[in-house]
């Protein structure tokens, strides 16, 4: 078959053809550039700085190898901050999940005016985090706070929610619980709604109690949602910073100093940037480890089910 000779292609035509051919990559370019410059590069830079003694004020930048990491491991405040963060995570996540599941089950029942109740119940989640923090700062205040007023009305002594080292962290966790349990409720509720009614009715006919129904019908179905929500809350928990900063600043003593607070102080109070960079990398590794272990389990379970 004779080949048809294509007409000569002009410059503009060539460019527009090239653009069309690579359109996919070009469209991906802006986002990729943003990722590259604002996430990938900074991470590598962070790792780089962590091997130096970088004192911003004195304009010192000296290679010290693994010294920063060694100091970190020896630093009891850093270890303490990890403990505090884990303590917060455990408390907040556990309470949020238990209460969230309970409320979700409740809201899934046949309720009067459900369409009004649901949006109202998730209202706490809709407020800006700082506003939530501010409200609870007022509720917790020793002299004039709501809780103190209530206790006094009943003749009890006010409690130092944020200044007693034994439970200051738990008080902060309570704020987080109030704010984010609605999130758990929503996720679990979605899972619950996928369970058809007749399963429960059949179980009831067979004589199963409510609790048995819950364990054998509800739980297996929402297992995936549960694990998802636990993972998300845990990852979020590591990021805890604004509430601590505004409510206690790390006090009393060091009992509410989280890893993020530690990094903030080292980096932006003492301007010890190399040390702070090392601490943030350790934190990152910690989060990665936790999420990987967890996602692998989830993944495996999902695959098992499939």
């Amino acid at each position: 078959m004779a080949k048809t000779i294509a007409p000569p292609v002009g410059r503009a035509e060539q460019i527009s053809r090239w653009l069309e051919k690579h359109m996919g990559l070009l469209l991906l370019l802006p986002a990729s550039l943003i990722f590259l410059f604002l996430t990938v590069f900074p991470l590598f830079y962070n790792a780089y700085i962590s091997f130096f003694d970088y004192a911003f004020i004195q304009r010192l930048f000296e290679f010290t190898g693994l010294d920063n990491y060694r100091f970190l491991i020896e630093d009891e405040l850093f270890i303490g901050s990890i403990k505090n963060t884990l303590r917060f995570l455990l408390t907040a996540t556990t309470v949020e999940v238990i209460v969230g599941v309970a409320v979700a089950v409740l809201l899934n029942a046949k309720l009067f005016a459900k369409k009004v109740i649901l949006p109202l119940t998730i209202l706490p989640m809709m407020f800006p985090t700082m506003v939530v923090t501010a409200i609870w700062a007022i509720i917790y205040d020793y002299e004039y706070g709501f809780f103190s007023n209530v206790l006094r009305t009943f003749g009890l002594a006010p409690v130092r929610w944020l200044s007693d080292h034994r439970f200051a962290m738990e008080s902060i966790a309570l704020v987080d619980v109030w704010q984010w349990t609605p999130f758990v409720v929503l996720v679990i509720l979605a899972g619950l709604q996928s369970i058809p009614d007749y399963l429960y009715e059949a179980a009831q006919l067979d004589g199963a109690s409510d609790w048995q129904q819950f364990c054998h019908i509800t739980l297996p179905v929402i297992a995936f949602h549960l694990q998802l929500v636990i993972l998300l809350r845990v990852i979020d928990g590591f990021r805890l910073f604004d509430k601590v900063y505004a409510l206690t600043g790390g006090g009393p003593g060091h009992s509410t100093e989280t890893i993020t607070m530690f990094i903030f102080k080292e980096g932006f109070r003492y301007f010890n940037l190399g040390f702070a960079a090392a601490a943030s990398l350790v934190m990152l590794l910690l989060i990665l480890a936790v999420s990987l272990i967890y996602t692998r389990r989830m993944w495996r379970e999902m695959c098992d089910e499939a």
Binding site: F56, I57, Q58, R59, E76, L77, Y142, E143, R160, L162, S163, D164, H165, G249, G250, G251, P252, G253, H254, S255, K265, F268, R269, Y270, F271
Partner: protein
């Protein structure tokens, strides 16, 4: 018709040219300072200066204490000369002066023929020099802050105590007398951070101890332990949540008459004590220098100093303003209008000022005998670290011995 238009055109041109000429002469200074009463005091000075020099406009940026140091750090290190005048809290001089961020003032005094007044209270002036205490002058003190001890004269008299407490042990004894259900014998700033450290230092120094001794941590000493134990003893006669107290709460306690003594007050917030609109204890408080113990009274100096950014583009005008704001007339005005403590000795014996602020003679004595915090660029960090462990001792997380040991370890590591 044409003639009128021509006239207006000429007038307009003249106005525009004049405006441009004036604008070119216009100098814009930017002043990075503190907020609150300090801001009001500086604004008084700025208004007066702008009146005398209409071609100068000074823009004032007042920041709260937390964050001010970080802002100054970033601004100075960056070195772009965005700010001409910069305020410093005295412990920060060791961080910023050696690094060459501020302009050396000595050549400016030479150049302009002005003299560095010898009316300045020497310990305050020395804080603005590098190397401390007799190197070149980089900043001048503008707020004569020094800690004072406050006590209720009327309560003391009623209990047969004629004189203010001479030692801290006396303070404890008196506190015990005055504590009943309603009133507290003593109150102090116990919040974790700068608050608890400045409450503790005068006691530590009175016992003969210090945080840094010969460049190393002096925390691990019997003096420190004794001071810490006394500090904890004071807590027994203080409000239950004193470990969250900052200046505002202490003030409140004093003004409502619920506290008989305050471990430390700063002159800037004191005038309210005699203001009948807010205070229940008008005229009942006396402010004196701190009690001693093993050694004599050691009130802590805490002046604010003003310096010129080495990268400023208007150093001459900035210097002129600097000498203006520290002149006797302006300092007196700021003291009268806002209650700003002066840094010139003669003003503390000025009859008008003494009639307004009856503690001025005591304050002068405190200023002249005051002790400054250790001069080290690491002070912010040391203070914060020390605060953490002091707070743990105050709240009961650690015993005084444990807190002292932990603080010693941490501070030694910082000083290494």
């Amino acid at each position: 018709m044409r003639r009128w238009m021509l006239l207006w055109a000429c007038l307009l041109t003249v106005v525009v040219v004049a405006g441009v000429a004036v604008a070119q002469e216009q100098v814009n200074l930017v002043f990075l300072g503190r907020d609150g009463t300090y801001e009001e005091a500086m604004k008084v000075a700025i208004a007066a200066y702008q009146k005398a020099h209409p071609n100068v406009h000074i823009e004032y940026l007042g920041l709260p204490w937390s964050g001010l140091r970080e802002k100054i750090t970033v601004e100075l290190v960056e070195g772009r000369g965005d700010f001409d005048l910069i305020i410093l809290d005295d412990p920060w001089t060791s961080e910023f002066l050696p690094a060459g961020f501020l302009e050396n003032l000595d050549p400016w005094f030479h150049r302009t023929g002005k003299k560095l007044s010898d009316d300045f209270i020497e310990p305050l002036l020395a804080l603005g020099r590098w190397p401390y205490p007799d190197g070149a002058q980089y900043a001048l003190p503008i707020v004569g802050n020094v800690q004072l001890f406050a006590y209720r004269r009327d309560l003391f008299k009623a209990n047969g105590l004629e004189h203010p407490p001479a030692t801290w042990s006396d303070v404890v004894a008196a506190a015990e007398k005055f504590s009943d259900g309603q009133t507290f014998g003593v109150v102090f700033r116990g919040a974790r951070g700068n608050d608890i450290v400045v409450s503790f230092l005068p006691i530590l120094w009175a016992f003969g101890g210090d945080v840094i001794v010969d460049g190393r941590s002096g925390v691990n000493s019997p003096e420190f332990l004794a001071a810490l134990k006394l500090f904890l003893k004071l807590k027994e006669y203080a409000p239950g949540d004193v470990d969250t107290y900052q200046a505002s709460r202490v003030r409140e306690m004093l003004m409502s008459g619920r506290a008989a003594m305050a471990v430390e007050v700063w002159p800037a917030w004191v005038p309210e004590l005699d203001d009948p609109a807010v205070s229940q204890v008008v005229g009942k408080f006396e402010l004196v220098k701190h009690p001693g113990e093993a050694s004599s009274s050691a009130p802590m100096l805490g002046p604010w100093l003003l310096g010129i950014n080495a990268k400023s583009k208007h150093k001459d005008v900035a210097f002129d303003f600097l000498t203006f704001v520290t002149s006797p007339e302006i300092q007196k005005m700021a003291a009268i209008e806002v209650g700003n403590p002066p840094t010139l000795a003669s003003l503390y014996t000025d009859p008008l000022l003494v009639s307004m602020y009856r503690w001025y003679p005591d304050q002068l004595e405190a200023l002249q005998n005051g002790v400054a915090r250790p001069r080290t660029p690491l002070w912010s960090r040391i203070e914060d670290t020390l605060a953490g462990y002091l707070h743990e001792a105050l709240v009961g997380i650690r015993s005084p011995e444990e807190a002292m040991e932990a603080a010693h370890q941490a501070i030694s590591r910082i000083l290494r």
